[in-house]
């Protein structure tokens, strides 16, 4: 039932099978998802389209039924409950405001279904509209609102029900870039203020980074990594994550030796020896990749790897390079080009980076 206490969400071995409409073959849209979301946290499901993030969210809401596993909201197993009986409230990508109601009636809709007394409904609606900074707009029709305002109403409508869990299905994707930034800050502010558990789906990594306590990276129906935004960015667990979050260069390397005391590894990159942090536990003799983020490296007249500049573009806040080393094209973003030499195409240059800012992956 719907209550006002914040609840955790537990997914146990959740799988969802779809049938490909073309080949008629079954495939896993979500496969063996295990996830424990603590009450009051803001968790984001992040991944490319088709990775199963929305399906997962819709299973929590009850619009889809899992083929394997059990979903708990709080302590209650909810697999058999229809969406209207689950303690969740969802903010939709298209806002899904009821076009024949004004702002007040949209927000009051769920309360009226619960047959609350009129005065109580009025008080709750007014309070929640204040929270989302939409007071005074009660009698506007939804088509008189801007995208951002519609988003606020959609959020108010979900919050007013005081659900155990708040669900967001790419709520900002229809807004323009500037408004997206404002609204994501707003969503985070309100979530923190109310202290509600939130599950948020997006394919926009900067949105995920800025808003979440925990990010779950998904790919092809599976969880690739779960962690705080910082962990995900600095210690990606796989090539997929490193590539998906931010930009990354992968340079083939060979592990020469590992030091278990300091937790480091010595690797060989094109004949150069580098010592890096060994956070994924490689062993000596293994093949690995050295991962360098473009903003963590720069061109220099001396350094580790020598190559030829194949592209040099002024991007405003940074100078963007591509450096060809053997068969590799390494991308670099030099954010402080005014103090340094600008390299031109076909010049020779060395790749220079801080070993502390790079890491290895298998």
């Amino acid at each position: 039932m719907k209550t006002s206490e914040k609840k955790g969400v537990l997914l146990e071995h959740i799988s969802k099978i779809y049938i490909d409409p073309k080949t008629k073959k079954q495939f896993y849209a979500v496969k063996d998802m295990n996830l424990n979301i603590e009450p009051g946290t803001f968790v984001t499901l992040l991944g490319p389209s088709g990775c199963g993030k929305t399906t997962t969210l819709r299973m929590v809401a009850g619009f889809e039924s899992p083929d394997e596993g059990q979903i708990y909201i709080g302590t209650e197993a909810v697999n058999e409950l229809t969406p209207n009986k689950r303690d969740t409230a969802m903010v939709f990508q298209s806002y899904a405001l009821l076009p024949h109601y004004n702002v007040f009636d949209n927000v009051a809709y769920g309360l009226k279904l619960r047959k609350l007394p009129k005065e109580e409904i009025h008080e709750k609606v007014i309070n929640i509209l204040k929270l989302v900074e939409m007071e005074g707009m009660e009698s506007r029709m939804t088509n008189q609102l801007s995208g951002g305002q519609q988003q606020r109403v959609a959020l108010a409508r979900a919050l007013v029900l005081e659900p155990g869990v708040l669900l967001f299905d790419e709520p900002l994707s229809n807004l323009d870039a500037k408004l997206r930034v404002t609204m994501r800050t707003e969503i985070r502010r309100i979530q923190q203020k109310v202290g509600i558990t939130a599950i948020y789906v997006t394919h926009d990594q900067s949105e995920a980074m800025s808003i979440s306590d925990q990010i779950i990276i998904m790919s092809k129906g599976k969880m690739e990594q779960i962690g705080s935004p910082r962990e995900i960015y600095y210690h990606p667990a796989s090539k997929f994550v490193a590539d998906f979050i931010g930009e990354a260069n992968f340079i083939p390397a060979k592990v020469e030796a590992v030091d278990d005391v300091f937790g480091t590894a010595d690797i060989d990159v094109f004949g150069e020896k580098i010592t890096v942090k060994n956070h994924i536990n490689v062993d000596a003799g293994e093949d690995a990749f050295l991962v360098i983020r473009p903003e963590n490296a720069r061109l220099s007249d001396k350094g580790i790897l020598k190559g030829t500049v194949s592209l040099s573009t002024f991007m405003g806040s940074y100078q963007y390079y591509r450096l060809r080393v053997g068969d590799l094209e390494i991308q670099l973003s030099d954010y402080n080009p005014v103090n340094r030499k600008i390299y031109e195409v076909s010049e020779e240059a060395y790749l220079d980076f801080d070993p502390k800012a790079v890491y290895i992956l298998k």
């Binding site: 099978i17 009850g62 409950l81 969802m90 939709f92 990508q93 024949h100 809709y109 029709m141 409508r157």
Partner: protein, 569 residues
């Protein structure tokens, strides 16, 4: 195994919604009892003799010269009317979408032409055709002084049907033409094509599936039409009239059943081609929304002949409708054109009042039932997932392909002696209830189709959001779905009312002396040659239907969704 748990859960969720489950059960029972069962009985009647499977009835029917002629006649008529209606409809649509109409009167005229056939009883054009071109027709006798004019037969039916059905094609094709992106045509024009080359290499090929669609829809309508061949057919019998005569004249209802099976197979096959082949192709070729407005054709060599042709047709159609009230006001058609109210007085003195009351009351009951039923069906079909959904959609659309005459015979064979001749439900036979049911079944497909297209435009997440906030299916339907499609609901309501009060084909077979129907009265009076009285009935009937449509437009204008949107811009 894989997929089984979600299927089980979906089932559990489904059954936790008792209102929806019982609605679906009631719907399925209704469709089975009043659409499939009567048709099934026709089949049984025509292949079972004394409890054994036999081809006896079929071979008897096939050996009838009358039946073979009627079959051939029906096909000839269908092709003729289908092709001509599609062509004229295309011209009208093309003129409206592509050519700049120079006068407001013309635009009004186009509007009248597209709405008149919707509000008028099916045989009104036959009536005025006879009055214009018949033996004592104004044009033939009084103006051209031809005293032996014969408008009856193929020529009469064809003209009347073409004029009745081309507006349907016009409306269908107009929608398609509007969906063609003008930049396609501009691009070919830019590459050096002439206006005609653009039409023949771009517009026409893109329209081809849509034209096929319009052709088949008209073909089915023509083949199923009963009223016009009855009134103006003369000795040119079609399947629909032959079936009727087989029952009412020869009292051979098994023979009629077999003929009905033939007619039904014809319409159903065409319907299946139309629905499952052409409709998909139409959608596939014309998915693009027009990005910009189209530059209308100003070229006089295109504009003038097209506009002139369409205007003549439009004026002619309007003229034919105007004939009807005059027919009721003239003392003696063809001889004495002084004005009189005697036909109206005669109508009221005889069974007029009773006929209007019966027709009105029965249609008034049937209309809301039909409208609500078709909205519920559309809602279930578009928004819900459940087993049996395909069945509900298919059967309610199939009703479109069932000619009224066939349905009437089906009800006679299926209910005169009760369900499966057991006497169960026999009580409804010969009552007003079965007439109401016939009205509902006959109007259900149109309502469902418009409901489905209205619902498809509503974002799925709007209903999901209501569901998510705690509403059950019935609450979602009443508080969200229905208010959002109220225009469609309202027009479904009025369309059902109009269709019911103007229906004749099935009704004429099922009506008993307890109920007098306006349409049957018109038919009877026209057959007797009392055109004045027939016109008096038709005039009042047109006034009723026109008022209903006008009231609907007024309501939509003041309370409809389009207005609320406009006001708040």
């Amino acid at each position: 195994m894989a997929g089984s748990q979600s299927a089980k859960l979906e089932r559990q969720k489904f059954f936790s919604d008792p209102i929806m489950v019982s609605t679906i059960v009631v719907l399925i029972v209704f469709l089975l009892l009043f659409i499939l069962y009567p048709l099934f009985m026709l089949l049984i009647d025509s292949i079972m003799v004394d409890g054994k499977v036999s081809m006896e009835v079929f071979s008897r029917v096939l050996s009838m010269e009358r039946f073979r002629t009627a079959f051939k006649n029906t096909l000839v008529l269908g092709f003729l009317v289908g092709i001509a209606s599609t062509a004229i409809g295309l011209l009208f649509a093309y003129v409206e979408v592509y050519v700049k109409l120079r006068s407001v009167i013309l635009e009004k005229l186009f509007n009248v032409v597209s709405t008149l056939p919707v509000v008028s009883p099916p045989f009104v054009l036959s009536l005025s055709m006879i009055m214009l071109f018949g033996r004592s027709g104004i044009i033939t006798r009084s103006i051209l002084h031809i005293y032996d004019s014969n408008i009856y037969g193929l020529k009469g039916i064809a003209i009347v049907q073409i004029l009745t059905f081309f507006p349907v094609c016009y409306m269908m094709l107009k929608g398609l033409l509007k969906n063609i992106d003008p930049s396609l045509e501009e691009a070919t024009r830019d590459m050096g094509a002439t206006r005609w080359q653009v039409f023949s290499t771009v517009t026409f090929p893109l329209m081809l599936p849509g034209l096929g669609n319009a052709f088949l829809v008209t073909f089915i309508e023509s083949v199923a039409d009963f009223a016009n061949p009855m009134m103006i057919g003369g000795s040119y019998d079609t399947l629909a009239t032959t079936i009727y005569l087989q029952v009412t004249g020869a009292f051979d209802s098994t023979g009629a059943a077999a003929m009905s099976v033939v007619l039904l197979s014809l319409t159903v096959i065409l319907f299946l081609i139309q629905k499952y082949y052409l409709e998909k192709r139409t959608a596939a070729t014309l998915t693009g929304k027009a990005t910009r407005g189209r530059m209308p054709i100003e070229d006089r060599s295109v504009r003038v002949p097209l506009t002139v042709f369409c205007s003549i047709v439009a004026v002619f159609v309007t003229l034919m409708y105007i004939m009807v009230p005059f027919g009721a006001l003239f003392k003696l058609w063809g001889r004495d054109y002084s004005l009189t109210l005697k036909w109206f007085q005669y109508m009221m003195k005889t069974s007029g009042l009773e006929a209007f009351q019966d027709s009105f009351v029965l249609s008034f009951i049937a209309a809301p039932v039909t409208a609500l039923l078709s909205m519920i069906i559309s809602y279930l079909v578009v928004k819900k997932k459940f087993r049996g959904k395909g069945f509900i959609e298919f059967v309610s659309m199939l009703a479109m392909a069932v000619p009224g005459t066939v349905l009437g015979i089906g009800y006679i064979r299926g209910y005169a002696n009760g369900l499966f001749r057991t006497g169960a439900l026999q009580q409804i036979y010969g009552t007003g209830l079965i007439l109401i049911i016939v009205f509902v079944v006959r109007s259900l497909p149109t309502g469902t189709r418009s409901g489905i297209s209205a619902l498809r435009q509503i974002d799925k997440s709007i209903e999901e959001s209501a569901y998510d906030m705690g509403a059950n299916s019935a609450e979602v339907f009443t508080t969200v779905t229905l208010p959002l499609i109220k225009d469609s609901f309202l027009s479904g309501l009025v369309t059902a009312f109009v269709r019911s009060i103007t229906a004749i084909s099935a009704v004429i077979l099922l009506v008993t002396p307890d109920f007098l129907m306006i349409t049957c009265q018109i038919n009877e009076q026209a057959e007797k040659g009392n055109y004045g009285v027939a016109c008096a009935y038709a005039t009042v009937l047109i006034m009723i239907t026109y008022t209903a449509v006008a009231v609907m437009n007024l309501i939509i204008k003041h309370f409809g969704t389009s207005r609320t949107v406009k006001e708040e811009d």
